[in-house]
């Protein structure tokens, strides 16, 4: 891997990792929400 490859890989790793985490959080929330009515969510 040359210089540019390393640099792009760094940005890619960062964005992909954060993106995956965000996606998994949102997905789990949606699944959980099926069991909790909206009134019980204190932030809405």
């Amino acid at each position: 891997m040359d210089d540019l490859g390393f640099i792009v890989a760094s940005y890619a790793v960062t964005l992909v990792a954060v993106g995956l985490f965000a996606w998994s959080v949102v997905r789990r929330s949606r699944r959980l929400a099926e069991q909790v009515p909206p009134e019980d969510r204190p932030w809405t």
Binding site: L4, F6, I7, S29, R30, A33, E34, V36, R41, W43
Partner: protein, 244 residues
Amino acid sequence: MTASTATRGRPDRVTGTPFTRALGIATLVGIVWLTWFGLFVTPADVNQGESVRIMYAHVPGAWLAYLAFIVTAVSSAAYLWRRTRSLTWDRIAGASAEIGVLFMGISLVTGSLWGRLTWGTFWTWDARLTTTAFLFVTYVGYLAVRNLGGTHHQRARRSAVLALLAVLEIPLVHFSVELWNSLHQEASVAMDGLMLFTLFLGVIVFTLMYVWLLLHRQRALALQDLVDDTGLDLAIAARRAEVG
């Protein structure tokens, strides 16, 4: 209309609020801006060459990881202190630690790639890097303990004590490693105005990411706890129905 049909097809409608939506948009804009500046607009460094571009992702990641762990420690203390005891603090502590581990992992990987470009090695045993690796493992352990089970308050108290122990251990380990290996050369980076700005931008973008992730993750944990409680209530009701 069930909750699922209400949320289907609408991204982050469950833990999202108008605020997080705005935050999310700002974050995405910031990410694009940072990537563009980091990869194209900023110049190469006099000493390090192109590899300095990695710093715009690596440094903010590390800083935000530290911030996240500080938040975990403070929230843990807030939970333990009777007057402010609330499971929300526990959930913030947990969510923040998860994000901290994520950012710390990113920081270690990008730092390793940078090291390979700059110094030719993927790893060196200097104090800062070693303590970072130590921090990473410590909080992985913290997250493992959070999943040990028991009531929400048992989990909260256990984790809170552990988080405070971690805060105690970090300076001790850092100090020991520094004594052990005082050979780290600070890589000097002559940063001109644009590079400094981009670094600053990086910190802001990562902070936005952190807050967005924290809010969503903390609310997801709250949902999980609610579901656990509901599950428990249902189980108790079912038992009563059996008996009565």
